[in-house]
Every structure is written in C-alpha cells, then in structure tokens.
C-alpha cells in the first residue's frame, strides 16, 4: 500500500487534534450564555492567564531564555495603560495597545543586558526587575495609588455596550484575545522564527554558524512576549477595575510558574490546560488562607519531580495513542 503506518496515524492524530480544538472553541463561545456567572468569571481569568503562560512559555521554554521575572511586564502593561487613561485622558482601547507597547518597550530595554549573560544571570536580572517595580509603584503615592491601588479607569465600550455593566463583553473580549494571541504564538512557533528560537536554544554555536543572529532573535522574543503579556495586564486590571502592586505578589508569581512548568516547558498546549487548572485551583484554595502558599510550594515541587515534561507530554502521548487506535480500527485491515 502507498501509505506507511506512521503517516496514517499522523493523519488520524491531526484530525483528532483539529476537531478537538474546534469543539472546545464552540463550547467556550457558548459557555457564558448558559453557564453560571461565577464560572464565567473564572474562565475569563483563565483566558488571561493562559495567554500570559503561553507567552512566558514562548520566551522561557521555546527560546530557552530563563526570564523568571516576566510577570513584571504584566504589571508594566497594567499600570502604564491605567496611568495614561486616568491621568492622561486617553480612552481605554488605545490604552490597551499602549499597555502592550510600553511593556514591549520595557522588554526591549531588558533584553539588552540579557544578551551578554547566560542562564542563571538572566533569572537574576529579570527577577530583580520584577522586585523593583512594586517599589516604584509605592513611591508613586497618589499618582499610582501605591498600595491601595489605582482605580477609576475608564471602561471599555463597544456598540454602546459598557463593559463595566455588561461583564459578558469582557468574557468575549478575553476569549477573542485568547484565540488571536494564541494563533499568533502558534504561527511564530511554526515559522522560521520559531525554528531559529529552537535552534538557538538547543545548539547555539551551530545556529550562529548558520547565520542566525542571536541578538536579534533574543530581543524580538523579549519584545513579542512582553507586548502580549503587557496587553493582558492591561485587560486584567481593567476587568478587576483596580490596579495594585499585588499582581506581583509571591502567590500570583507561584501560580504563574506552576502554569508554565506544569504545562511543560517549551511545549504546547499543556500550558493552556494548566493555566485553567491553576486558576480554578487557586480559587478553590482561597479559603485555605495561610495554607495556600504552602500548597502552592508543594505543588511546584511535586510537578517538577513527577512531571518534568509537564502536561504537554501527557497530551502528546494521549493523541498518539488515540491516533494509533483509530488507525488499527480502520476497515479492511485484516
């Protein structure tokens, strides 16, 4: 026969993957119409965090740049968009883009010292950046809302519907960005740029000898991931209607790290699933109070020890297994 067994199973796998994605998207679109508002809220948060985690995965897992302080860009986007709208009178839609852009600028700036250093030092530089931001926020006093938080950001509105009143609009906005930004990330990974990232990560000198410009790609991945994360930061604080330094707290940081690590560094779509899992878990643990950070710490340890390749590894195996099963069931085999 013309086809080898491997080719055939791949076709089944691809079919399964595509149909699953479409099915899930349909469910997500219909969800808020029939679902409990509480869960809609959680889903919304999950969309935001899934995008953040995916962008973080892009820079850390895919490009191999250990940027532990990536969450800082979340705060940069959140605060820059809010500040510019509250004090500068800019309306929220351009504010959203501005949040992303200023985060991208910050990413651009941070990328340069990171070019000269490797591995662990990048962890330290980015974490230092993460640690510095709350200090500036607190120093800002009434301008930035300090510890209390910055409020009174203008609401998004579309076709006359004020998002503040009709929260369901936020859901669809978040879902829309979730789909679009993930599509962009996906295309990046599949493109030549994505190949370059992986090549630089796995075999730097070889990649450079082929003419891959490490500096350029490192800066680009910083800019892209920070833009995406910054934009999500802006959306996040607009939804919550307040921007506080608490978005950089250890618990949020721990949650985000778990998402990236549990999902599987450098692999998709595990990151998306783990983002949902962690968001829901965090919510349910809210009553646990003091125990929560301890549990988060324990979960981080458990995930690394037990699933070094994360959920993505499991997802891949599941699809492969299902694909093989379908293949062996096809008619005419005997």
């Amino acid at each position: 026969m013309g086809m080898t067994s491997d080719n055939a199973t791949t076709i089944y796998e691809r079919f399964l993957r595509r149909s699953t994605v479409i099915l899930v998207l349909l469910l997500l679109i219909l969800f808020p119409l029939y679902g409990d508002p509480y869960y809609t809220h959680l889903m919304l948060l999950s969309f935001i965090w899934a995008v953040v985690a995916s962008a973080w995965n892009l820079i850390m897992g895919y490009a191999g740049i250990f940027s532990f302080g990536t969450l800082a860009f979340f705060a940069v986007g959140a605060y820059s968009s809010s500040l510019v709208e509250v004090w500068g009178g800019i309306s929220p839609w351009p504010g959203l883009l501005l949040g992303g852009s200023s985060a991208a600028l910050a990413g651009f700036i941070i990328a340069f010292p990171c070019l000269r250093i490797k591995g662990l030092y990048i962890v330290l530089v980015t974490v230092a950046f993460h640690q510095v931001i709350p200090i500036f926020i607190k120093l800002g006093g009434t301008w930035t809302g300090a510890d209390v938080g910055l409020m009174d950001m203008p609401h998004y509105s579309l076709f006359g519907y004020d998002f503040g009143t009709y929260k369901i609009c936020y859901y669809y906005l978040a879902l829309f960005l979730f789909i679009v930004l993930h599509y962009i990330i996906y295309r990046i990974i599949g493109s030549n740029m994505g190949l370059a990232f992986v090549a630089l990560r796995d075999s730097e000198s070889f990649a450079e000898s082929l003419g891959v410009n490490r500096a350029k790609f490192n800066v680009v991945v910083f800019v892209i991931s920070s833009f995406i994360i910054g934009m999500m930061g802006a959306l996040y604080v607009h939804y919550l209607k307040v921007a506080t330094p608490r978005i950089l707290e250890i618990e949020i940081f721990a949650g985000a790290i778990i998402m990236v690590v549990l999902g599987g560094l450098g692999k998709f779509p595990g990151v998306i699933i783990s983002a949902f899992m962690v968001t829901f878990l965090n919510e349910f643990l809210r009553t646990a109070g003091l125990i929560r950070p301890i549990l988060l710490g324990a979960i981080i340890i458990a995930v690394i020890m037990l699933f070094p390749s994360g959920l993505s590894g499991l997802v891949d195996s599941a699809y492969r297994y299902a694909g093989r099963t379908l293949h062996s069931l096809r008619p005419g085999k005997m």
Partner: protein
C-alpha cells in the same frame, strides 16, 4: 576629632555587618560553586535558623547560646535531606539547572510560609545574647555585637581552614574546578553535593540565628535576606568564596555608611541600585568565573 568618633563607630558597624553578611551569603556561593545550581530556598534556611532559635528559646526556655548550637545541628541534616530528596533525583534528568531553580523556588515558598502556619503569625522576637555595652573611651559597642563579630569571624576562619587544609574541603574545591576530574579520583559526587547543601543550610541557619535579634521573624525576612545574599554573591562573583567574602565586607561597610550618613530609608534602595549596576556593568562580579 568630632568626625572621627562616629566614623570609627560606623567602621565597626560595617565590620560586624560585613562578617554577618559573609556568613549569610557563603552558603549560596558554596552551592553554586560546587553544586552548580542556584538555591532559591537559601533565604528560607536563614529564616528557619531564626524560627528554630525562637522556638527553642521561648518554648523550652533554653539559653540563646544553646539554641544557636541546636539550631545548627538541626539544619545540617535538613539540608542533607533536601539535597537527597529533591536534588539527587533531578541530577540524573535533563535540564537539571533550571529544574533545580524551580524546585528550590517551590521549597522557598513552602518553607517561607510554613513558619506562619506552625508557629502562628504573632510577632516573634528574640532577646539578645547578652545585654550590656562596652565603652572604650568615646566608642560604644554592645556585647551582643562583639559576640556576633567573634562568632562570625570564627566561622569564617574555620571555613577557610576547612576548605584549604582538610581533604574534604580540598575535594569540594576540586569538584568546583573540574567535576569530571573529581569523579576520576574516586570522589563520590552525590555524597559531597549533599554535604555541601547541608553545610550551606547550617551556615544559613547560623546567620539567621545571629540576625534574629535585630528583626521580627516573619516570612518576609526569608526573601529579604535571600535578596541581599544574591546581590553580595553576584557582586563578589558567583561561586567564588574569596569574592563573597570581600563583597560582603564591602557591601556591609557601604550599608553602615549609608545608614549613618543618609539614613535608614536609603538602605533598601541602595541594594537595588547596586544590583542593577552590577548586573548591567559587570555581571561576573569581582572574581566570578562564569558569565
């Protein structure tokens, strides 16, 4: 003469702070130099030095000095166990460095807040080792500070002798220079990694005990001390014992001066600015060997 007195007081403060910081940061350097990983949980060990001492002092009414010794004795095996349980299995798998950072981060978060859960969130304080001041002409220095200085200098000397003169210490230096060579001469690397980690935990614990009387013991202390230790270690050069020593004294002296002449408020920003400067200008630090 008027400037001289406070100046000498500041220098003395700087020396005490410097030696304290040196003991505080040494564990981090040792783990990086020998184990080649960054121990995010270093601050947690410092914090728990404080917790153990507080617990032994208040619950069992033990003398501060005894509590110090017991605290160290407890933290050494804790460090050993952490290495065996968490790091040893990860060494055999790929991506060890990044996995080690993440797992120690998880441990730091866990241990950092466990104290609040186990001991309650009430403020905890420890009294100083001894009350009393020593006056020498116009200079004053508390007995506690003298004791701190004596203890830390003794520890640093002991460490130096250990690393230079003993076989085990030389083996540790050997691993940091060529791990394959260490294997070739028959050194059991896993056991030495565990020993290094345990030693680092004990050193962290000691510094936590010595620092404890100055602060309330809260989880934040774990992160703040980690932050300072990181800056000192980077400034001196990751993995260099000599660099950490010199870096700690320079920065301790700097903090003493800024604290005296600019005010306590400027101490925190000083550390941040230092970190940014070092990372942007000379990430290798003074004596660092890895970029």
């Amino acid at each position: 003469m008027q400037i001289l007195v406070p100046l000498i007081n500041v220098i003395i403060s700087g020396l005490i702070l410097g030696s304290l910081y040196a003991v505080m940061s040494m564990g981090l350097t040792l783990i990086y130099g020998i184990g080649r990983i960054f121990n995010f949980a270093h601050g947690a060990f410092i914090l728990w030095g404080g917790y153990f001492t507080w617990f032994l002092c208040t619950k069992f009414h033990l003398n501060y000095g005894v509590s110090v010794v017991l605290g160290i004795l407890i933290l050494f095996p804790v460090g050993w166990v952490v290495d065996r349980l968490l790091l040893y299995p990860l060494r055999r798998k790929p991506n060890f460095e990044i996995n080690a950072v993440i797992v120690t981060l998880g441990l730091a978060i866990l241990l950092g807040n466990a104290g609040d859960v186990i001991f309650g969130t009430r403020f905890k304080t420890i009294d100083q080792l001894t009350e009393g001041l020593l006056r020498m002409g116009r200079f004053t220095i508390t007995h506690h500070d003298i004791a701190t200085l004596v203890i830390t200098v003794a520890i640093l000397l002991f460490l130096e002798l250990f690393l230079r003169k003993t076989t085990l210490g030389t083996a540790m230096r050997a691993i940091s220079q060529d791990p394959v060579g260490a294997k070739i001469v028959g050194i059991n690397l896993d056991r030495l990694f565990a020993f290094t980690f345990a030693l680092a935990a004990a050193l962290g614990g000691i510094s936590g005990v010595l620092i404890a009387p100055r602060f309330f013991i809260t989880p934040a202390v774990g992160w703040e001390t980690l932050f300072k230790a990181v800056i000192i270690v980077i400034f001196g050069g990751l993995g260099s014992v000599k660099g950490t020593l010199i870096g700690a004294f320079i920065l301790g002296m700097l903090e003493a001066f800024i604290s005296m002449y600019l005010g306590m408020f400027w101490v925190s920003p000083m550390w941040f600015i230092l970190l940014i400067i070092v990372l942007f200008i000379k990430p290798r630090g003074l004596f660092g060997t890895w970029a």
